[in-house]
Symmetry: C2
Subunit: 207 residues, 2 copies
């Protein structure tokens, strides 16, 4: 029941543009496993946050968000606004939340994830109905303090160097996502979930 | 057997100065739980690495390491040397590796860790003899790109601001470690491990 609901939500999210396209084939591979499905996930992104710490989630702290490479001019635009707390550039690699029906499936998914370079993955919790919750993540990330109230920390040229490295790191995360897709495909269970196989729009992503 | 060996190693590490003193009372609390013990752990630290990415572990990439606050002059000293790849300042909060004898103990430790703000914690693996391996970590971290080959990215004054924020973030990590110590103390099992209780030097840390 939870899996079917999550499956429907995935296609709704895709329609309304909530779902990052880079992520779709990977999510479909998880749903194709009869004993697994995914929950909220991210293919990796670059954000700017006006927050005390890079991990803070104070209200409206995220002032810019993009799932692809950024241009220095996009950052310069944000830098023209006053900084309230601290302005951070944050890059995070992909993060995927998976529910597995039992421990065997959970450990198998963890093994596949490690093989693909998702080295910071682990089991988060066990729920009687929702199964074992896993978080799959890489160590691919970067933060950079760009400005304090009234004070930029980089000149224009230095900022360009920072942005180039941030984009490169975002790309490393996307590569890992590609490796995860390959690892899932070469470790498919014997039977695939009819939910995916019998869905024409989804099945063509099984490659 | 594995627990006793790890316990002996803890005291050897302390003697040779390998063990960070901030960590000792927390590790002793874990050993006092009859069904748990810790493996390599860190109370949080600031490093400088000359590496392609902040997470890279290329040989000799770490050029500076400290478990306490740093002075801007310490960073300036490193900046006087030529940069080969990229010079990163990295701050990480505490990371504790725990082995639990069974799943019940593993989930209980995970619950305590979450309560103390170790939100990025999870189960890493299960080993028939060594038990369930957990990694307990916070989201407390920061990276800052300081220099590229032949090019500093901050002036002296901007670097001082960066160092101040890095020290503050290291402090946030140490606070979380203090919360973990409190959470472990208020969630002690009914009986404590004789390994710790009967060890005079250790038992005085039980507070």
């Amino acid at each position: 029941m939870f899996k079917t609901r999550s499956w429907e939500r995935l296609w709704e999210d895709l329609l309304i543009g909530y779902l990052d396209e880079d992520l779709l084939p990977v999510l479909i591979e998880f749903f194709a496993r009869p004993r697994a499905y995914t929950l909220s996930s991210c293919s990796g992104r670059i954000t700017l946050s006006d927050s005390t710490y890079p991990w803070s989630r104070e209200e409206t702290s995220i002032v810019f968000k993009k799932h692809g490479p950024v241009e220095p001019v996009e950052i310069e635009d944000v830098l023209r606004h006053p900084v309230v707390r601290r302005l951070w550039l944050n890059v995070v690699g992909p993060i995927i939340h998976v529910s597995a029906r039992d421990m065997d499936e959970a450990w198998e998914i963890l093994r596949i994830a490690r093989e693909a370079g998702f080295k910071h993955s682990g089991l988060l919790s066990v729920h009687p109905a929702k199964g074992v919750m896993l978080e799959l993540r890489t160590g691919v990330r970067m933060t950079q303090l760009l400005a304090l109230p009234g004070k930029r920390l980089h000149g224009r040229e230095e900022l360009e160097s920072v942005v180039a490295v941030a984009n490169e790191i975002l790309g490393v995360g996307k590569e890992r996502l590609g490796r995860l897709l390959e690892a899932l495909r070469s470790n498919r269970p014997g039977e695939l979930d009819p939910l995916v196989v019998e869905d024409e729009a989804a099945a063509r992503w099984l490659g």
